[in-house]
Amino acid sequence: MVSACPLVALHNLTVSYRQHPALHHISGSFAPGSLTAVVGPNGSGKSTLLKSIVGLLPIEGGRSGGALTVTLASESIAYLPQVAEIDRSFPIHVRDCVLLGCWGSAGAWGAVTQAMQGKVDAALQAVGLEGFERRNIGSLSSGQMQRVMFARMLAHDARLILLDEPFNAIDAKTTAALLVLVRQWHQQGRTVIAVLHDDALVRQYFPSTLLLARELVGWGATSEVLTEPNLRRARAMAEHWDEAADLCDIDVLAAKKVAA
């Protein structure tokens, strides 16, 4: 399923925290149905990229400025943040938590249909959590919690799936089980973008890779991007940090060129 129109297009995207760019002039696009790993050292802007695509961060030039185009309604995007961002002490059952995946279609007042219940059952079965329906999420291990989150995404039935370090602090068995789901999503033609730290895993499962170090180091087929020189370059770029860096003049120059 190749279409001319990319699902997510970045055009000179810059996202800054207090004037320091976390993502610096990134351009490229995610094709529909692609399975991409986002790789890079800590602080290289991987999570920032995902959050920008979801719309959780203000981007330079504004959402409608053309720097970031997402040709999907927000209901069709599923986003899995890093593990720590969910309140695990909240009194909610596993089943209800997975059912929240249907928020996009049920909303705040819509009925919960038989079809949604069926989806939830199927999702719980797919992640291997049958029998856990009535357990509180506070009683789960972090691996089980991550299975719940994947079940919620299954119920969500999204076209674009963004995973932020989904296998951090997850054992090999659970990782393997969840990777099966990622592969299924890919086969079903969904677009998956995952932030990962395990190069071996990326090489084995992800056809394309985006290597970030605040700036774009490489974007394309995994075997061509994850090369030793590229990785060395990424490490060197991420370590460079200057509190009093000069203002970036790429945009200024471009503006002058347009004016001339």
Partner: protein, 294 residues
């Protein structure tokens, strides 16, 4: 046996049967228990247990302005309180959305300013007695008009909470998910804060602005010790608040103590009992020294 029944009648029922002001106070506090305590549960879930306290202080300048403009008119003071509370909640919301400050920090800053303004206004234009009345209220002084207001607010609040329930649960549990799904998460938060404000204002005549928070938070905190599920916690909180209201009114009648603080003290006694005996409390930990095999 008959003597016991007579004693029970005299202590627990006669005060309500004989005096209209006791009946009105009972109905008002029961209505408040029904609507305010569940809000308290949501506040604790969102780790904003102290927010009710902050908002109750924020209501003060509005009540003062209402008092200055039209004397001891309940409508004017309540309206002023609602406007002031909502203004503070909305301002704090705006600060949170558009700056790097978190909810609690922005609210703390703004409510302190509001409180200072309120005290300045009241001390300039009223007597010490008025200030005490506004801060601590008097359940026994609730008239029919005040009762209607409390009942109206409680009804609206319960209905709105029911309508907002699903969105509010999601927004409290996983705001990132909600934000990713539609970017309207702050609307739920603001709607919820408005509910808290109108409940605090409804409580101010019966319990006073300070004590109204007690009926909202104490039963809510205790209820979390009893149950693992949210619906059960909500019902438990309301039930504890009602029990505290009835017991507090009776105690204040027999001991001749101010009604608001007595009700809150009763809620405090229930909290202490919950701390000791509830499944999530202290004593069950000592009793259950065995464990299952899996």
């Amino acid at each position: 046996m008959m003597a016991l029944a007579a004693w029970l009648w005299d202590t627990a029922f006669a005060p309500f049967a004989e005096f209209a002001f006791m009946r009105r106070a009972l109905v008002a506090t029961l209505a408040l228990s029904l609507s305010a305590a569940p809000l308290g549960v949501f506040l604790t879930l969102r780790r904003m247990s102290l927010l009710g306290d902050a908002l109750s202080h924020a209501v003060l300048p509005g009540v003062a302005i209402g008092f200055m403009l039209s004397g001891l008119s309940l409508t004017a003071m309540a309206l002023g309180g609602v406007v002031a509370g909502m203004l503070v909640a909305a301002l704090a919301g705006l600060v949170t959305r558009f700056t790097t400050l978190k909810e609690d920090a922005s609210l703390a800053a703004i409510y302190l300013v509001a409180l200072a303004l309120g005290v300045m206004l009241i001390s300039g234009h009223g007597t010490q007695l008025d200030l005490l009345h506004i801060l601590f209220g008097s359940a026994l002084g609730v008239d029919s008009q005040g009762l209607l207001m409390v009942a109206g607010v409680a009804s609206i609040s319960v209905l709105l909470l029911a309508a907002m329930y699903r969105g509010l649960v999601l927004e409290s549990f996983d705001p990132v998910f909600l934000g990713a799904a539609g970017r309207r998460g702050w609307l739920w938060q603001q709607g919820f804060l408005m509910l808290v404000v109108i409940n605090l204002v409804a409580g101010f005549q019966t319990l006073g602005t300070l004590m109204a928070v007690g009926l909202m938070m104490l039963p809510a905190v205790s209820s979390r010790l009893w149950h693992d599920t949210l619906p059960a916690q909500l019902i438990n909180a309301s039930a504890q608040a009602m029990l505290a209201s009835a017991a507090g009114l009776l105690l204040s009648y027999h001991l001749d103590t101010p009604s608001g603080p007595t009700i809150i003290a009763c809620a405090g006694a229930l909290y202490l009992a919950s701390l000791l005996f509830a499944p999530g409390g202290w004593l069950p930990r000592l009793w259950t020294t065995t464990h299952r095999v899996a």
